[in-house]
């Protein structure tokens, strides 16, 4: 790796090259003060250059046992960590089952589908389900809902929260002391207060909010779910340069993945569909292009199967591809076999 690939500013790079430092090895044994004098730059800048050099050289070294690479963990440790991980229930038991328990934390899941299939419903359901207290099998965390299309309706969130609480109390009718204290927390208003809602009106704001999330999540440490509904809308409308769009989206997805790992939360991105010309005909596929389709860890497609709504896991590193039917009821997303009351209208 040469000087030209170091993450330093162009003027310092040109100074290094003009002074004859063309390879990393030439910089390996120089003191910062000497370098500062050579390049006639400030001491702090020389220190930065040398730090960049040492970062790149250590990551390149081969034959180093695992324990010595900073930040690496063994697969065995990861296994026990993964087994302890709780999942966010989607409300539909079949869908939870094929997902291996629910939406995984520390991963980015993309959900896409045609208009009207229930993406926003699933988003709101997850924002409610993440708040189920730990004693009742949930994560007891809060949710960040980033709305780019204006489809979040507070009244619907109220209905879904009500339905969720009703089902929990139905399932756990016990009146023992530890449950009593949680019961007070099971209020619809508490659930609504636990959803942090951002309304985004342009792709600039979308990029800004994702950049800002790191600070926000440090302040609000109990957030366990970030939903973006939908990630596509502004990028489809206003972005003219498609190559730049791909790069910006790539940066966004990397940042989201980093956030999910750093704060141990789940990121769910809702996507739209578009038609793509493959194999001689137009096929439905998720929007934002082929490069984007690689960036998410998991991918779920919601589609119509005859008269039924189905969720199909198209991509996942840990579970096989499978399909599960689900319903959108007055209480939210439910499975086919669960008892549900007739759609409740306010």
């Amino acid at each position: 790796m040469e000087i030209s690939n170091l993450p330093i500013s162009p003027s310092i790079r040109s100074k290094l090259l003009s002074k004859g430092y063309t390879s990393l090895s030439s910089l390996s044994s120089i003191s910062p003060s000497f370098l500062a004098q050579e390049l006639s730059v400030k001491l702090e800048e020389a220190v930065e250059v040398l730090r960049a050099v040492s970062d790149t050289t250590t990551s390149k070294s081969a034959h180093i046992p695992y324990g010595i690479i900073p930040g690496a963990v063994t697969a065995w440790d990861m296994l026990s960590e993964e087994q302890m991980q709780r999942h966010i229930s989607t409300g539909c038991e079949d869908l939870d089952a094929i997902l291996g328990g629910g939406i995984h934390c520390k991963e980015v899941t993309e959900v896409g589908g045609v208009p009207g299939i229930g993406k926003t419903q699933l988003g709101i359901q997850l924002a409610v389900n993440v708040q189920i207290p730990v004693e009742y099998g949930g994560l007891g965390g809060k949710a960040v809902y980033i709305d780019t299309e204006g489809s979040f309706m507070a009244e619907r969130a109220y209905q879904i929260a009500e339905g969720c609480i009703y089902d929990i109390l139905d399932k756990f009718p016990s009146n023992s002391r530890e449950f009593l204290s949680c019961k007070e927390r099971l209020q619809v208003n508490n659930f609504l207060a636990g959803i942090f809602y951002f309304r985004i009106c342009s792709y600039t704001e979308q990029i800004a909010v994702i950049n800002y999330l790191e600070n926000f999540l440090t302040e609000h440490g109990d957030v366990k779910l970030v939903i973006i509904d939908s990630v596509t809308f502004h990028f489809r409308q206003d972005f003219d340069d498609l190559a730049q769009r791909t790069r910006v989206l790539g940066g966004l997805s990397l940042r989201l993945m980093k956030l999910s790992k750093m704060f141990n939360l789940a990121v769910v991105l809702l996507n739209q569909v578009t038609t793509k010309f493959t194999d001689g005909s137009f096929q439905l596929t998720l929007a934002l292009g082929d490069s984007w389709s690689h960036s998410c860890t998991n991918r779920i497609i919601l589609h119509w199967n005859g008269n039924e709504r189905c969720a199909y896991i198209e991509k996942s590193p840990s579970v096989p591809s499978a399909s599960a039917p689900y319903l959108v009821t007055g209480k939210g997303i439910r499975g086919i076999n669960s008892n549900f009351k007739r759609a409740r209208i306010m």
Binding site: G116, A154, F198, R199, C201, N211, V248, V273
Partner: protein
């Protein structure tokens, strides 16, 4: 927010000077570029770029609200325009929502404009009669607005109001009709509207129909067939709806759809739909494509079959899929069944037009 100036964001002066020297003046310019590009452009090191981007992002990011605060705000400000059709109002949790785009789509002559005329009247009525007591802007692209018909609807639905002296004139005076003849005129009037919506107490915006604008745009021949023809206008309409919290109602047309066009996902494989014989007679689909379908918040489909006309709530975040049979009378649209018929599955998205054509009867 996107056009916020970097110079006003409170960055350290040396940094903001560097940005403006390279002509990166607004947040949009700065955030559209990946960090490495910014670093190369501004000639400062990566850590400084990161902290600058973080400060710009924090300044550009809109403030958050909790779900509870949203609900309370909605309760306070009403949040819906009641259509006075009880079944539909129930299904939509109050009526046409503020701040969102509602689309009416259906074949020609089915009653979309009638519905719009009634909505315009309802928004103009004083609050004691269930209206919004405000002005209405009616953008009529196909010259379908008939004030005579509107007064007729008014007299039929609210006879006690319209017989009062001068009230009919006052109501009609609140409805502003504009007939743009090109898409640039349309955009201009939208721009002006954005400034004056709140000042002039406009409570409803109707665009009837939005498809005509697309036709005008295509005449210029500069839009490729795969791109959305309405990109600028669409996001503009949505942003107007959001900022001024008014309901925006848009009508759309249908076009025919051959069965070969039915798109499938790649993973489902290519299989011919065998149950096509019935549908191929009158297989219609909404115009403007799937991107538009994603963009609207609520879609009401008007269709006709089995001798009746139906309003179907096809896409709505708060309603179950129901269909209401209706008729068009002198007093406007009336629902025949307030309970609604539950529609299962993807039928809710189908648009049918049987029994409408006198030539085939």
């Amino acid at each position: 927010m996107a056009n916020k100036l970097i110079s006003q964001m409170g960055l350290p002066p040396s940094l903001s000077h560097v940005f403006s020297a390279r002509n990166i003046l607004t947040a949009k310019d700065a955030l559209s570029l990946p960090e490495t590009d910014l670093m190369a452009l501004l000639d400062i090191d990566i850590a400084l770029v990161r902290s600058a981007v973080a400060s710009i992002s924090e300044a550009t990011c809109p403030p958050f609200q909790t779900g509870l605060a949203l609900l309370e705000e909605k309760m306070k400000s009403g949040g819906h325009l009641s259509t006075l059709l009880p079944g539909l109002d129930n299904a939509l949790c109050g009526g046409i929502p503020f701040g969102a785009l509602t689309e009416l789509v259906g074949p020609s002559g089915i009653g979309k404009t009638q519905f719009c005329l009634k909505l315009a009247l309802l928004a103009a009525l004083p609050e004691c009669y269930g209206g919004l007591n405000g002005r209405v802007i009616y953008i009529d692209t196909e010259s379908k607005f008939s004030s005579r018909r509107m007064i007729e609807i008014g007299e039929g639905s609210f006879p006690q109001i319209f017989r009062l002296q001068g009230l009919a004139q006052k109501m009609a005076g609140r409805i502003i009709v504009t007939r743009p003849t090109s898409i640039s005129e349309f955009n201009d009037s939208l721009q002006q509207m954005k400034l004056t919506l709140l000042q002039n107490e406009v409570k409803l915006l109707i665009v009837d129909s939005i498809v005509a604008l697309v036709c005008w745009d295509n005449e210029k021949g500069t839009i490729s067939s795969r791109q959305s023809p309405l990109r600028g206008s669409l996001s503009f309409l949505k942003s107007i709806a959001e900022f001024s919290r008014v309901p925006v109602v848009v009508t759309n047309q249908v076009r025919s759809h051959s069965s070969d066009d039915t798109f499938h996902y790649i993973f489902k494989g290519h299989r011919k739909d065998t149950s096509n014989s019935e549908r191929s007679e009158s297989h219609l689909t909404a115009a403007l494509g799937i991107q538009w379908a994603h963009a609207v918040t609520i879609r009401l489909i008007f269709e006709a079959h089995s001798g009746h006309r139906f309003i179907k709530v096809a896409k709505s975040p708060i309603s179950p899929p129901v269909a209401f049979p209706f008729v068009v009378e002198s007093s406007g649209i009336t629902l025949l069944n307030q309970e609604g018929i539950s529609v299962a599955g993807s039928e809710i998205n189908a648009i049918r037009c049987k029994g409408c054509n006198i030539l085939t009867q």
